[in-house]
């Protein structure tokens, strides 16, 4: 139960989702991941650490470099992996609803 909660915390953060989507395409070093963000390397490496602790990322030693890749199995294990996707649409539709509730037709 605790692990489950951690995984959701991990994927609730937009930066961490962005990291997951980057490494989903190809395995990357921490440096090359950090290049995609404006945050400091330390911040990104903290995010990577959290994702690794949740087993969403796996390390792979390649010569001197450590590469991170997506643990697809773990992603599949998250029964509710579609929750962020649902939440995204829910937020959007909530916004639509509140805008239209206040809608005044132009005359």
């Amino acid at each position: 139960m605790e692990i489950r909660r951690d995984v959701f915390q991990a994927i609730a953060d937009p930066t961490r989702r962005a990291i997951l989507s980057l490494v989903a395409i190809q395995a990357m070093t921490p440096g090359s991941i950090a290049e995609n963000f404006e945050s400091s390397r330390q911040t990104i490496s903290k995010h990577i650490q959290i994702l690794t602790e949740c087993e969403l990322l796996e390390q792979q030693q390649n010569g001197r470099e450590i590469y991170y890749h997506l643990n697809a199995k773990k992603m599949k294990e998250i029964a509710d992996f579609i929750e962020p996707f649902r939440k995204m649409w829910d937020d959007r539709f909530n916004k639509l609803e509140s805008i239209m509730k206040n809608y005044q037709p132009k005359k």
Binding site: P14, R17, F85, R92, F93, E97, I99, Y103
Partner: protein, 157 residues
């Protein structure tokens, strides 16, 4: 608690269905999809083009506060039937995802409530799962929306 927005995505299928019930009359719900200024508000994106007709097209673009474009999407409208149906394609630009096909059905439930059913068909089951698991472009978009809301509040005082 019953969720207002539901996603149905069966294993190994290349489509998914999003349903949502709104506390809005049908015509207001449809209007939120038809009028560019309103689409821009709830999608949190700039609407460069929105031609609501068969063979029409649309273009969305979202920039970060520095003016860099972070999200760009376009599509073709295949059907636009007032208060009933929109069929369109959706393609994110500069993203490694194939174009998708969207069927939007608008239904009246009561005088004051309505329902949207949105079926999205992807190129492959893998692509669908990828889109489900990693709403990356959307994630950026949402972060941007939140930022805009905050900025909007500050500006309005």
């Amino acid at each position: 608690m019953e969720q207002k927005t539901k996603i149905k995505a069966e294993n190994d299928k290349q489509d998914l269905v999003i349903t949502r019930e709104f506390d809005l009359p049908l015509d207001l719900l449809f209007k939120a999809y038809a009028e560019p200024e309103i689409v821009a508000q709830w999608m949190g994106t700039k609407v460069l083009k929105l031609e609501n007709k068969k063979h029409g097209g649309y273009e969305f673009e979202t920039s970060d506060p520095n003016g860099n474009v972070v999200f760009k999407a376009n599509g073709t409208i295949h059907e636009f039937t007032l208060n009933e149906r929109i069929i369109r394609t959706f393609e994110m630009e500069n993203a490694p995802f194939a174009v998708q096909l969207e069927f939007l059905e608008f239904e009246k439930l009561t005088e004051e409530t309505s329902k949207l059913t949105m079926q999205i068909v992807y190129k492959s089951p893998d692509l669908r799962d990828q889109m489900l698991k990693l709403p990356f472009e959307y994630g950026l978009n949402m972060a941007h929306n939140r930022l805009q809301e905050v900025v909007g509040k500050i500006v309005k005082g």
